[in-house]
C-alpha cells in the first residue's frame, strides 16, 4: 500500500467532502482555487495554440505564393494603404496596453478603473474595424477583390488576384477574431459591473486578456507581411 503524505491525505479528504467551505467561484470538481485557475490557464494556452495553427495554414499559403510570385507581391502590396495600416497597428497595440491595465486594476480591486480601461479597449477595437471598413470599401470600388471577382487591371505580374485572396482571407479571419473579442470584452464588462470579480477571482477577465493579446500579435505579423513587402 502506498502511504500518502499527511498533506495529501488532507487534500483527499477535502476532495470528497462537500461539507468543507467552498470559495464562491470554485467548481465542485476542483479542490482549491489555485488548481482551478491553473487549469483554466493551461486550457486557454492550448486554445491559443490551436488558433496559431489555424492562422498557420494561411501563413503557409502566404509563404508559398510569395516565394512563387515575388514581383507580383511587391507590385500588389503598393495598393495597400500603409498609413491606415500603421494607424491600425498603433490602435491595436494601445488596446493591448489598456487590456493589461484593466486586469491590473482588478488585481488592485478598483472596479471603476477596470470598467474604464475595458471601455477604452472596446473603443480601440471599434476604431480598428472602422478603419478596416474604409480600406475594404476602397478595394471593393477598385475591383481589387479575391480570385475570380478580381477586375482591377493596374497591377503587373502573375495572378495578382492571389495577393488579394490572401489579403482578404488573412485580414478577414483576423477581423472575425476582433469581433469575437469585442463580444468577450462586452461580456466581461457586464460581469465587472455586477461586481463578480475581485482580486482573488478574475479568471474570465484574464482569459479574455490572453485572447485579446493573441489577436493583437497576429495583426503585428499581418501588418509587415501584407503592407511592408518591399
Amino acid at each position: 500500500m502506498i502511504d500518502p503524505l499527511p498533506k495529501v491525505k488532507e487534500i483527499r479528504k477535502a476532495f470528497m467532502e462537500h461539507t468543507h467551505e467552498h470559495a464562491p467561484h470554485l467548481a465542485h470538481h476542483f479542490s482549491e482555487m489555485e488548481q482551478q485557475r491553473e487549469s483554466a490557464k493551461l486550457g486557454m494556452w492550448i486554445f491559443l495554440l490551436t488558433e496559431i495553427l489555424l492562422f498557420g495554414g494561411l501563413f503557409t499559403v502566404y509563404a508559398i505564393f510569395r516565394a512563387w510570385n515575388p514581383d507580383m507581391f511587391y507590385n500588389a502590396h503598393k495598393h495597400l494603404n500603409v498609413f491606415l495600416g500603421s494607424i491600425n497597428t498603433i490602435v491595436l497595440i494601445s488596446s493591448s496596453v489598456t487590456m493589461a491595465l484593466a486586469i491590473r486594476s482588478t488585481q488592485l480591486g478598483n472596479r471603476k478603473r477596470t470598467l474604464i480601461f475595458l471601455a477604452v479597449t472596446l473603443f480601440f477595437a471599434a476604431v480598428f474595424l472602422v478603419i478596416k471598413y474604409f480600406e475594404y470599401q476602397h478595394k471593393f470600388e477598385l475591383g481589387q477583390l479575391p480570385g475570380k471577382y478580381y477586375t482591377y487591371t493596374g497591377i503587373e505580374g502573375n495572378n495578382p488576384h492571389i495577393f488579394f485572396s490572401i489579403y482578404f482571407m488573412m485580414t478577414g479571419l483576423h477581423g472575425i477574431h476582433v469581433i469575437v473579442g469585442m463580444g468577450l470584452i462586452t461580456w466581461i464588462m457586464r460581469k465587472t459591473s455586477k461586481n463578480i470579480f475581485s482580486a482573488e477571482y478574475y479568471t474570465p477577465l484574464e482569459m479574455t486578456g490572453l485572447y485579446w493579446h493573441l489577436v493583437d500579435i497576429i495583426w503585428i505579423f499581418l501588418f509587415p507581411l501584407l503592407y511592408l513587402v518591399g
Binding site: 500518502p4 470528497m16 475570380k148 488576384h161
Partner: protein
C-alpha cells in the same frame, strides 16, 4: 435478479432535461456513444451497399456509377469523421478517463457538453449533405475535382469543419484533466496506459485539427469565390491541397489508433492476470507515435508529383513509425507470456486486434516503400491496409473496450456466449472481406472503381460474402447488447478483477464517481501484489 445500486449516475437526477443539460462526463460520454453507434450503423449500411454493388450479381448493377461514387464517399466520411475519430476518446474516454485518474469530472465540464452539441451540429450538416446531392469526391475531397463538382461538397466539408472543433475541445479538455486533475498520489507513471493513449491522442487532436479546419475553409472559399489557391488555371496548386489535407489526416490516423492501443494495454493485463510488460516503453511509444505522426504526411503523395527527395525522406520517416508500434506489440505479447489467460469476449477482441493490427501495420511498410508503392498505390491493397488498421485495429479495440466497460456503464452483463460467437464471426468475416482485397490490389484492381474485368470477379464476390458474415456478427452483437441494456444480469463493481480505479466503484458509478475517497492501493497493473498478499480481490 440482483438490482442495480439505488443511486447511480443514470438515475441521479432523473428526467430527460437532466440528461440534455448534464455536465456529468459519464452522461456526456454515453450520449456520444449513442450518436457514434448510430453513425456506425449508417456508415455500415453504406459499406454493405458498396460490397453489394461490387458483387455484380449476374452482371447486374445495384446502382448507377454516380450513386456509387456518392455512396463510397459517404461511407468514408461518416466512418472517419462521425464514427472512428470520436469513437474511443469522446465516448469511452469521456466515461472512463476521469474515473481512471480519480477525478470527479473533466477539467471543463461545460466545454465538454458544448463539444457534444458541436458534434451533433456538425453531424446535422453531414447528414443534410446526403439529402442535398451527396458529395462524390471521396472522403479526401481532393481538388480540383472537389472545387468543381456540383454535388454538395460545401455542406459536407462545413460539417467536417464543425466536427473538428468538437474534436479539438475534447482533446483540450483531456490534456488539462490529465495535467491538473489527477488524484493526489497518482504520478505520471502510475497512470493507466489508456490515459497515456488518450493523452497522446489529445495532443494530436489539438495540434492537427486546426490545420484541417483552415484547409476546408480554403476549399469552401475556392468553391464560393474562386480564390485560386488550389486552381492551376488561376496560378494555384492542387497538390498544395493534398499537403494541407494530409498534414491533418495522417496524424488523424493516429488519433484513431492511439486510444485503441490504450484499450489493448488495459485488456491484456486484466485478462492475462499479469503485470503489463514494459509499462514505460508502452507509455513513451504513444508519445513517439504522436510526434512522428506529424512528419509522415508525404507518404500519401509519392506518385502525385512531389519531389523525389521529399519522397525518400517521407519514406524513411514512415519506416520509423514501425518502431514504436512494434515496441507496443512485442510488449503486449510479452505480457501474455506465462499469463493465465481467460478468453472472455473483450480478450477475444484484443487478440483480434493483435493479429489484424500487425497485418495492417506490416502492409503499411509495403506502401511506405517508394518503389512498391508505385505498383500498389490507389489499389485495393491500400483499401485492405487501412481497413486492417482502422477496423482491424481501432474498431476491434473499441469493441473490446465497449464490452470491457459495458458492465461499468450500465451495471449489467451481456450474454457471454453470444458475445463470443459475435467476436468470432466479426473476426472471420473481417478477414474474408479484406484479405481478399490485399490479393485484388496486388493483382492491380484500382480502388473506387465501379466496374472491373471478369478476372477480379471471384475475389470481389468472396469479399462481399465476407461482408455478410461481418454484418451478421454485428447484428448478433446489437441484439445481445440491447437485451443486456434492458434485461441483463446485474454486474458487480468489478466483474473482471481489474485494478484501475474505475473498478473500485459501484457499477454503474455514482454521480460524483466515487462514494468514498479513492485510494491507490495498487498500481494499475500490480496483479502480482494482491496474490502475494493473499487477498486476490
Amino acid at each position: 435478479m440482483e438490482s442495480l445500486p439505488e443511486r447511480n449516475y443514470l438515475n441521479d437526477p432523473r428526467g430527460w432535461k437532466s440528461w440534455i443539460f448534464t455536465l456529468d462526463h459519464k452522461r456526456i460520454g454515453m450520449m456520444y456513444l449513442a450518436f457514434i453507434m448510430a453513425s456506425f450503423v449508417l456508415g455500415g449500411i453504406f459499406a454493405m451497399l458498396i460490397r453489394l454493388e461490387l458483387l455484380h450479381f449476374e452482371g447486374r448493377h445495384l446502382m448507377g456509377a454516380q450513386t456509387y461514387n456518392q455512396v463510397f464517399t459517404l461511407h468514408g466520411a461518416i466512418m472517419i469523421f462521425l464514427f472512428i475519430i470520436p469513437s474511443i476518446p469522446a465516448a469511452l474516454g469521456n466515461f472512463i478517463l476521469p474515473q481512471m485518474v480519480g477525478a470527479k469530472d473533466v477539467a471543463f465540464p461545460r466545454l465538454n457538453l458544448a463539444s457534444f452539441y458541436i458534434y451533433v451540429f456538425g453531424a446535422v450538416f453531414a447528414v443534410y449533405s446526403m439529402a442535398s446531392g451527396a458529395a462524390d469526391t471521396g472522403w479526401t475531397f481532393y481538388t480540383p475535382y472537389s472545387a468543381t463538382t456540383n454535388t454538395s461538397v460545401i455542406s459536407m466539408t462545413l460539417g467536417v469543419f464543425i466536427l473538428g472543433f468538437s474534436s479539438i475541445l475534447t482533446g483540450l479538455n483531456f490534456i488539462v484533466t490529465v495535467h491538473k486533475l489527477r488524484m493526489p498520489g497518482m504520478t505520471w507513471f502510475k497512470m493507466p496506459l489508456f490515459v497515456w493513449g488518450l493523452y497522446a491522442t489529445a495532443i494530436i487532436q489539438v495540434l492537427a485539427t486546426p490545420v484541417l479546419g483552415i484547409t476546408l475553409i480554403l476549399l469552401i472559399l475556392e468553391r464560393l469565390f474562386g480564390i485560386g489557391i488550389f486552381d492551376p488555371a488561376m496560378g494555384g496548386d492542387p497538390i498544395l491541397y493534398q499537403h494541407f489535407f494530409w498534414f491533418y489526416s495522417h496524424p488523424a490516423v493516429y488519433i484513431m489508433i492511439l486510444p485503441g492501443m490504450g484499450i489493448i494495454s488495459e485488456l491484456i493485463p486484466v485478462f492475462a492476470h499479469r503485470k503489463i510488460f514494459g509499462y514505460k516503453a508502452i507509455a513513451f511509444s504513444s508519445l513517439a507515435i504522436a510526434f512522428l505522426s506529424f512528419l509522415v504526411w508525404g507518404h500519401h503523395m509519392f506518385v502525385s508529383g512531389q519531389s523525389q527527395y521529399a519522397g525518400m525522406i517521407f519514406s524513411f520517416l514512415t519506416f520509423l513509425v514501425a518502431i514504436p508500434s512494434g515496441i507496443k506489440v512485442f510488449n503486449w505479447l510479452a505480457t501474455l507470456y506465462k499469463g493465465s489467460i481467460s478468453f472472455a469476449a473483450p480478450m477475444l477482441y484484443a487478440f483480434s486486434f493483435l493479429f489484424l493490427f500487425t497485418i495492417g501495420g506490416l502492409t503499411g511498410m509495403f506502401l511506405g516503400a517508394l518503389a512498391t508503392d508505385v505498383h500498389l498505390h490507389d489499389t485495393y491493397f491500400v483499401v485492405a491496409h487501412f481497413h486492417y488498421v482502422m477496423m482491424g485495429g481501432t474498431v476491434m479495440a473499441f469493441l473490446g473496450g465497449l464490452h470491457y466497460w459495458w458492465p461499468k456503464m450500465w451495471g449489467r452483463m451481456y450474454n457471454e456466449f453470444w458475445a463470443k460467437i459475435a467476436a468470432v464471426l466479426v473476426f472471420l468475416g473481417f478477414n474474408l472481406t479484406f484479405f481478399t482485397q490485399f490479393i485484388l490490389g496486388s493483382k492491380g484492381m484500382p480502388r473506387r472503381y465501379y466496374n472491373y474485368p471478369d478476372q477480379y470477379h471471384s475475389l470481389h464476390a468472396l469479399s462481399t460474402y465476407g461482408s455478410w458474415i461481418l454484418g451478421l456478427g454485428f447484428i448478433i452483437m446489437a441484439v445481445y447488447l440491447i437485451h443486456s441494456f434492458f434485461r441483463g444480469k446485474a454486474a458487480s463493481g468489478n466483474p473482471w478483477g481489474g485494478l484501475t480505479l474505475e473498478w473500485t466503484n459501484n457499477s454503474p458509478p455514482p454521480k460524483e464517481n466515487f462514494l468514498e475517497t479513492p485510494t491507490l492501493k495498487y498500481g494499475p497493473y500490480d496483479y502480482d501484489r494482491p496474490l502475494a498478499e493473499g487477498q486476490g480481490d
